[in-house]
Amino acid sequence: MRTKGFAKHYVLMLLPGLIWLFFYNLFPMYGILTAFKDFNPGVGILKSPWIGLENFRYMFELDDSKLIFRNTIFIAFAKMVGNLIVPLTFALMLNEVKNKLFTRTVQTAVYLPHFLSWVIVAGMMLDIFSYNGPVNQALAALGFEKGLFFADAGIFPALIVGSDVWKEFGFNAIIFFAALTSINPEMYEAAAIDGASQWKRLIHITLPSILPVAVLLATLSMGNILNAGFDQIFNLYNPTVYSTGDIIDTWVYRAGLIDMQYGLATAVGLLKSVVGFFLISVSYVLAYRFANYRIF
């Protein structure tokens, strides 16, 4: 807007993206109407009768609603923290290793699980933690009682968060590796000449240099916070862990697709979107404050 004649062709370049956005993201949003209607698939969303806020009223009546929101936020927040700290620590540690072949090999090995689907990883998890699986055998050998981990509501969220972090940390570390290589080596040389130990160099050069990236990633993941991971939980949960493991998405799946309560499921989903929108707005402000990152 600063110079005349600036806008036209740039705006034109925006067009393909905008069209895509409209058809895939904005247009389907009219489905939200389902939340306010007694949805009848035979006549379509628009012609189904209005029932106002009935679905929302019922949603707040349900004990489940509070539970699934609490579970979702807890699991997603724990994942967010884990997925930030573990890859960061890992990247910093591996960065100190000077053997190139070794770092390459380790990097490749740890990012591979990212490409496995949850169906496969969940199968592995259930085997590893099964009653006669390696974990229980190790526990038994050490004189502990065997346990059924995936039927224990207290442990379930930890397993969910742990397996997610295990699966993703290698992949998430890549961006930190990139940030680390962009640090000017002259700073390290200067620090070394001034007598800074390896630890001091880490604290005073490496960390401050990649902090903006870390903050940026953290704030951006805020918008995703209500996505606690449907695939993963769906493949691992069972009724005994509903109390800590049932999240919005799995509940919506059961209510919407299995029991065909479309209106109610949409209402819950909509509330999730509203909260998500709020969180994105907050994180955007925070990103601007702390990392000086902004779009507009």
Binding site: L26, Y30, G42, V43, L46, Y58, N132, D152, P239, Y242
Partner: protein, 583 residues
């Protein structure tokens, strides 16, 4: 500027959604027209050579005699959504859409089956069906469950099949439905026939036990719950299935503890038997002593059964990994377990896998455990699969014909093409289990009589019990003497592999079921009531969670009382009222 964008967007939104609506309505109306036209056309073309030009009018058409097995004059296309078994091996390059059966269907009857979509059978398929329903994007025909059927009826998505059924259903198909009274009434709403239901597969959960293990330990087959506990304990203590012997195989992850009124055919691998032997009927609607409807999951008997199972779980009698296991069938197939509960047709499923690993595995079913009064109880299974035809389907009559053809349309060419191979739901599109109400009984009894020499092949009623006749042709090779014993040693597994499983399942599982004296308990409700539509997800969750936790010991038995109270408060009482009106 902003206002402009908003206006533009709303215009787009409105016009797009209008277009969508228009499409729907237009589609329905328009297709209705063409549907008649086509039906009439094909009618003239082949079925009624003597028909006059006015064959298009419904009245005269209905009175014409139509040969249900006649070939359509022109190729008729039917689009379907299809459940496939990813592990099924077709011959050569065949697929579910193009195989020996569908090609025969095309050559012989001019019925061309096109797949709108495919999904793995089980939850994937159910999910895909539900999606198709909610987006009103339906293939011409598909197989749905009861909840989906009701949803589709409510949404007005289905074609009224009354006329085409009257006209095109073969006499055999009509005879089957006549011999299963009430079956068609169940899918008739406001006088309109909306589906072809599967006939009830008789099913009560039998206790399947490795008899070779019993014999080795010198034990008798179980009668009471106490016997069952003793046997399971003996299997574990003697490590019959290796160091990690599982006592009684339980429910797998995502499975249910017992069959419910909404999903009642499947007693497979759950604990229905243990409840029944306690006179408890969880998951269905029963009458209390005053004759009022009560939900079986809330009765004191259910609490008692849960208490017993909790005790058994703690002792290790029940599978430790109950509810968490990925696949319980695997436990049986690998020979780790010697006891599970399942219907007579369990001998079709995982037992053959176990026999492959261990040809001496002598699985035998027992009508046990009995309750305190010595009765063998079971709830009555109802069919749960329905063929439905979309309102916009162009050829509903083709679907009716396919159903008749699948059971009764086989000719010499078909027999030659499929020699030695039973056509399963993988080859046959819109596969539905159809049989006279007494089909199993007939098959078992006539096979026995045939083996004893009291019945000859030509005595078989080939028209109504074709499958029994087919099996009788092979039974000589497979069943060895003594004919009154159904232990695995008395079957020749290698002689006729194509038929071994069928005959083994009928004689081994089927005979026990047919001979059993079963005290049937029926559910008052067989579908969701109004309040259930909104409350059931929540109530079912409460139930599943509480019961599993009680059994596995993470909740006290008294949590049951809290459950009952909560269940009533959160809509259960209202639903019970509605069910009371049904009875």
């Amino acid at each position: 500027m902003r206002k402009g964008i908003l206006t533009a967007m709303s215009v787009l939104l409105v016009s797009a959604s209008l277009a969508a609506c228009g499409g729907n309505n237009g589609g329905n109306g328009g297709n209705g027209e063409t549907q008649n036209g086509n039906a009439a056309a094909s009618n003239n073309g082949n079925a009624a050579p003597a028909a006059n030009n006015g064959g298009g009018s419904e009245n005269t058409a209905a009175e014409e005699v139509v040969d249900p097995f006649a070939k359509f004059a022109e190729p008729v296309e039917v689009s379907i959504g299809r459940a496939i078994d990813p592990n099924y091996k077709f011959d050569g390059t065949d697929t579910a859409e193009d195989n020996v059966y569908t090609r025969w269907l095309k050559d012989k009857f001019n019925i061309v089956v096109k797949h709108s979509w495919e999904a793995a059978q089980g939850p994937d398929y159910q999910q895909k069906v539900s999606l198709a329903i909610s987006s009103n994007d339906l293939p011409d025909a598909m197989v749905v469950n009861e909840t989906q059927l009701r949803q589709m009826v409510k949404a007005g998505q289905l074609a009224d099949l009354n006329e085409v059924y009257e006209k095109y259903a073969s006499p055999e198909l009509k005879a089957v439905y006549d011999s299963n009274p009430g079956l068609l009434d169940g899918v008739t709403f406001d006088g309109k026939l909306y589906a072809l239901p599967e006939t009830t597969l008789p099913s009560a959960p039998l206790t399947w036990i490795r008899k070779d293990w019993l014999d080795k330990l010198g034990l008798q087959p179980p009668k009471s719950l106490q016997d069952l506990e003793t046997i399971a304990k003996a299997f574990i203590d003697n490590k019959m299935g290796g160091a990690n012997t599982v006592g009684i195989v339980g429910t797998q992850q995502g499975g249910t503890l017992y069959s419910t009124f909404l999903n009642s055919t499947d007693h497979w691998y759950n604990f229905s038997s243990l409840f029944f032997a306690n006179d408890a009927y969880p998951g269905i609607w029963v009458k209390d002593k005053d004759g009022n409807a009560v939900y079986g999951s809330t009765t004191p008997e259910t609490k008692q059964a849960l208490g017993m199972m909790r005790d058994w779980y703690a002792k290790g009698i029940l599978d430790k990994e109950l509810g968490v296991r990925k696949s319980t069938a695997e436990v049986v197939a690998s020979g780790q377990a010697g006891i599970f509960f399942g219907p007579w047709w369990s001998a079709y499923n995982n037992i053959p896998d176990n026999i492959k690993n261990d040809p001496k595995a002598n699985w035998r079913p027992y009508a046990a455990p009995l309750d305190a009064a010595g009765k063998f109880n079971s709830n009555q299974a109802t069919g749960s699969s329905y063929i439905v035809v979309s309102k916009s389907a162009k050829h509903p009559e083709a679907v009716i014909k396919m159903t008749s053809i699948h059971k009764w349309g086989k000719d010499d060419e078909f027999n030659k093409l499929t020699a030695g191979k039973q056509m399963t739901s993988q080859e046959v599109p819109l596969f539905l289990i159809l049989g006279a109400g007494d089909q199993l009984e007939y098959a078992v009894n006539s096979l026995r009589n045939y083996l004893k020499g009291e019945m000859k092949l030509e005595d078989f009623d080939q028209v109504n019990y074709g499958w029994a006749y087919e099996m009788a042709k092979h039974v000589d090779k497979i069943k060895k003497e003594p004919f009154d014993s159904y232990d695995i040693e008395t079957f020749d597994q290698a002689a006729d592999p194509g038929f071994f499983t069928h005959i083994y399942a009928h004689l081994n599982g089927g005979s026990t079921f047919v001979d059993a004296d079963i005290n049937w308990v029926r559910s008052i409700a067989t579908a969701q009531t109004k309040t259930m539509e909104s409350r059931w997800t929540n109530l079912k969750k409460l139930e599943d969670e509480t019961f599993l936790k009680i059994i596995m010991g993470s909740e006290e038995l008294d949590a049951f009382d809290t459950f009952v109270q909560k269940w009533k408060d959160q809509g259960g009482d209202k639903i019970t009222e509605e069910v009371n009106e049904l009875k």
